[in-house]
Assembly symmetry: C2
Homo-oligomer: 144 residues x 2
DNA sequence: TTAGTTGCAAATCGTTTGCATCAAG
DNA sequence: CTTGATGCAAACGATTTGCAACTAA
């Protein structure tokens, strides 16, 4: 619950105009427990009586990604992209293949490994995507 | 260069009919150095004078994925899905954000980590996707 | 013979774009 | 005022689907 609806400093710092839509979208993404799709954002704004067109959602998301404020992924296996707030802490997600819920896990097991790769492969590593699949506490018992 | 065009045993074992198309597609995927898209497969078959419709390519890919013979990912960042042969060895890819080439690295740094997660999160892990981004030997000098 | 497989064209889905209008700086 | 932001509808690319013809088992 940070930045209650006020991201103007951040936006100004990135050279983006401070519009209501950008503020609300940043708020929605920052306060979302899970990575969220463009359509889900669009619907959230509708709930909040903040009418916006879906194309503007996409355009805003693109600009926020390009400024590094949020991150885009295509992880769920289906075709929709999802977006998440760029926090300093490094997190990954457990994705339940049963109920499709995502669970966040703190920390990242890859730091050492990446250092090793950097020297053995002569490859400058700038980032990674890691998603772990399985069955959550509840779904493992349902035995589908 | 395994299974030179003959995957009939594998297909029979999975309860899939042994058609020429399925054989050639499996061959193309198994012998591809990198994850390959549906369209690339379609074009490869054309080269090989094995005319097929793009919709059949998608249908075959879907059935091979569901049988666990190949794996589908949406990793490249753009919207196309890619497919790779399911080998027993576990491999990941370095993706160069400069030239978009992929480099395969053997081994996987996650086995221990997953065991730990399994106990701390009460989550049965069945798999994961890991892709590492950066700049390859050549592109890091270009300094874009 | 028959259930599974294919090609084709049309449909769908997520996303992007052109353009005229509008609003923030 | 000027540049960037928006809404709308149309365009787009990747993938899916309905249906009739076909073919492996």
């Amino acid at each position: 619950m940070n930045n209650i609806g006020n991201y103007s400093n951040i936006l100004k710092h990135e050279g983006l105009k401070n519009t209501k839509h950008r503020n609300v979208i940043l708020e929605v993404i920052e306060n979302s427990e899970q990575p969220i799709s463009a359509e889900q954002i669009f619907l959230k704004l509708k709930e909040k009586k903040n009418s916006i067109s879906i194309s503007s959602v996409y355009r805003i998301l693109e600009s926020l990604v390009s400024k590094g404020l949020i991150t885009k992924s295509n992880i769920t296996g289906d075709s929709k992209a999802t977006y998440e707030f760029n926090r300093s802490e490094h997190k990954h997600h457990l994705i339940c293949t049963g109920c499709k819920k995502m669970f966040t896990v703190d920390g990242c097991p890859l730091e050492e490994y990446e250092k090793r790769l950097k020297s053995t492969m002569d490859f400058d590593i700038t980032g990674h995507k890691l998603e772990i699949f399985g069955l959550c506490k509840e779904c493992k018992h349902i035995n589908k």
